[in-house]
């Protein structure tokens, strides 16, 4: 009898506790009626052990948007759409611009954990000249980490990872198209970098969150002044505020 009670207790508590946070669970549905589609609960065959109360239903944090009014969901409420503004530093070098970077994001939910992340970034670095012609008359550029400027649009996917305490980590990958400019050398180019990054999101109210992320860009650019195709390699960190739209 004791072993049977233990088994019943595990059955009652186990599914709710073992369910990963990503599994969709109907909200606000009592445990008894969820198992009773007809809405008429049969008479209990026995009384469950008092030490094994039914666990409250879990909510998928990524699906909490429609319940923004519930303060209990605020920590994970991204919303169907959001915008964010970030400020940070970008490190480039050679013909990759670096310096102060301002970025705006538009997020649109695609699935339970994935958001389309469209971003536009502006990089403001030093205008110092760093290109020269070697003795073979080839143009060589040795810009520093924070030289040059640029504008770039990036289309990427943000994948939200399971929460860790108050933090909601995410990973991001995408493709960008940009223009780079090194005014001190009168050098311009078109760039196509691949982006990969990670970040953390912390909700501070039902509609506002703080986001910090790091981004690595690797790609190729086509430049004037006879430089032609050049590799692009950059790293950036930034932080800002994210605002839920819907």
């Amino acid at each position: 009898m004791r072993r049977r009670l233990i088994a019943l207790a595990i059955l009652a508590a186990g599914p709710a506790q073992a369910r990963p946070a990503s599994d969709p669970v109907p909200d606000e549905v009592p445990a008894a009626s969820a198992a009773d589609p007809a809405g008429v609960a049969p008479a209990p065959l026995f009384e469950p052990a008092p030490t094994a109360p039914a666990a409250p239903p879990l909510r998928d944090p990524a699906r909490a948007a429609p319940h923004a009014g519930d303060p209990g969901d605020a920590s994970d409420d991204i919303g169907d759409q959001a915008i964010s503004a970030q400020v940070g530093l970008a490190a480039g070098g050679r013909v990759t611009p670096g310096g102060l970077r301002l970025t705006g994001h538009y997020l649109y939910q695609l699935s339970e954990r994935d958001w389309f992340d469209g971003a536009a970034s502006f990089t403001f670095g030093s205008g110092a000249g760093a290109c020269f012609r070697d003795r073979q008359d080839d143009v060589i550029c040795r810009h520093g980490l924070t030289d040059g400027g640029g504008i770039e649009v990036v289309a990427s996917i943000r994948h939200m990872l399971p929460p860790r305490g108050a933090f909601r980590p995410f990973a991001r990958a995408g493709l960008g198209f940009g223009l780079a400019r090194f005014s001190g050398d009168d050098l311009s180019g078109f760039t196509v970098p691949l982006h990969g990054g990670v970040g953390l999101r912390v909700t501070i109210s039902s509609a506002i969150a703080i986001v910090a992320e790091a981004d690595l860009a690797l790609g190729v650019g086509s430049f004037g002044r006879g430089l032609g195709a050049q590799p692009q390699l950059g790293f950036a960190v930034g932080a800002g505020a994210e605002f839920r739209l819907r």
Partner: protein, 111 residues
């Protein structure tokens, strides 16, 4: 993974290499092509030559010395003509007064 990172680093580092720089040695037509000063193309400086002003040898980068030309400029040191071949046609290894020392030294200069 580690070898891939090393390979990418080597690729990026190997894309551009030069013995000269905007400071000393690059070709130029105007001062804007250099960090400081352009010795415009002439028989003395074929294809132009970026350099910096100096008072002593210590003011010049490695492999260069302060020659008594143009009021004191950094030029590459040499021991024979082939040492100056990397600068292109017209450059020779010549004995020149060294600025501020009263001695002569061998530097790369135009014919």
């Amino acid at each position: 993974m580690r070898s891939a990172i090393i390979a990418i680093g080597a690729l990026l580092a190997g894309c551009q290499h030069s013995d000269v720089s905007r400071e000393v040695g690059a070709r130029c037509n105007s001062a804007g092509d250099c960090n400081e000063r352009c010795l415009i193309p002439s028989t003395g400086y074929p294809n132009g030559f970026c350099t910096i002003a100096c008072d002593t040898r210590d003011a010049c980068p490695s492999d260069t010395t302060c020659a008594e030309r143009e009021g004191g400029i950094c030029l590459f040191t040499c021991t024979s003509d082939p040492d100056c071949a990397f600068l292109g046609a017209g450059w020779r290894c010549k004995a020149t007064d060294l600025h501020g020392s009263g001695t002569k030294g061998l530097v790369c200069a135009g014919a």
